[in-house]
Point group: C2
Chain length 198, copies 2
């Protein structure tokens, strides 16, 4: 089910389709020919826009996917009445997206990150930058909401680990049960930290 991209510019169509295929099929499992075909773009355009080939394309996919996911987090958490509600809403939304896409779309970078961690250093590094970006954002939010300073970062890492682990379990089990369990766990952890007086 190729998502419609109407008449977006060639470069954008390739980038969008790459992101979709990489997060679903992985880096090695996605062919550049499949990308250009599904994006309805000429094969040569890919090397015109990304002279560094597959690796350069994947790096941009990882970074833009990371930025997109952070923006999604902001869009959900910032309007929420409090951080606890925002975190729960984010996990709930993740579960809803899984169901809506038939368990195809979960984390924008996880599948590739797992593949490349031990094999493609530039891509591992890009994935690390993304995880670090998310961790910093959640750490700041937790500290701002009143979590003890030394607990904020470990708690942020644990919440992101819960989310990533739940994504993998949900996609594999084709069920949102793990996401529901992770949501409750994340909320419980955050609540405890926020109730602790520094």
């Amino acid at each position: 089910m190729p998502t419609t991209q109407a008449q977006a510019p060639t470069r954008d169509r390739i980038l969008f389709t790459s992101a979709e295929l990489f997060r679903r099929q992985g880096y090695a499992g996605t062919g550049l020919k499949q990308v250009t075909t599904q994006a309805e773009a000429p094969f040569g355009s890919l090397y015109h826009f990304w002279p560094g080939g597959k690796e350069q394309l994947a790096e941009e996919v990882l970074r833009t996917g990371g930025d997109f996911f952070l923006a999604l987090y902001r869009a959900i958490v910032d309007p929420a009445p409090d951080l606890l509600t925002g975190v729960r809403d984010f996990f709930t939304g993740a579960g809803e997206t899984l169901v809506a896409t038939g368990y195809l779309d979960a984390c924008p970078i996880a599948t590739v990150a797992g593949e490349v961690a031990s094999t493609h250093e530039p891509l591992r590094s890009a994935s690390a930058d993304v995880f670090e970006l998310w961790t910093a954002a959640l750490t700041a939010d937790l500290a701002h909401a009143g979590a003890p300073e030394e607990q904020a970062r470990p708690l942020a890492l644990a919440v992101i680990a819960l989310l990533e682990g739940a994504f993998l379990l949900c996609r594999t089990l084709q069920s949102t049960e793990p996401m529901d369990a992770a949501a409750d766990a994340a909320v419980a952890l955050v609540r405890t930290a926020l109730e602790t007086q520094p």
Copy 2:
């Protein structure tokens, strides 16, 4: 760094090497030629023992990896003075293995599971069986240790999600910081559940 397998039978050498390469490089990223070369086995032997080819081999790798990891869990948790200590020891051991292998060896099935969830139904199904096996074991342990019955399974899923997410973050960030954070979170969650009187 091919792990030594001395003079193990050909079939075992191929299986062992496949497990190593699949969990590090993923399914699509690992070639059968690379497997047989590193296993010092003739290429044809692979199709002799696994007539179903790469997919059949990967399925056996997933299932034996799942059994192995459960046995490792049992070996750590059963002798522990209590479940809380056992869970902490398991997370600690996971972190130590990551460091000892230079962040190469984490979960035996996660990298492949993430790749195949949307692309290879027989392998997704095998991965699901493994996660279900682990979940059932931890659920039973939690219930036996005194967690309220309706909390045991969601808690087991959350702990496994924490572990899987931490594996991904640690491999990507090349740091055990996420595993330490996940360990504390898992212990806190389990402790709270065990302190709750049914």
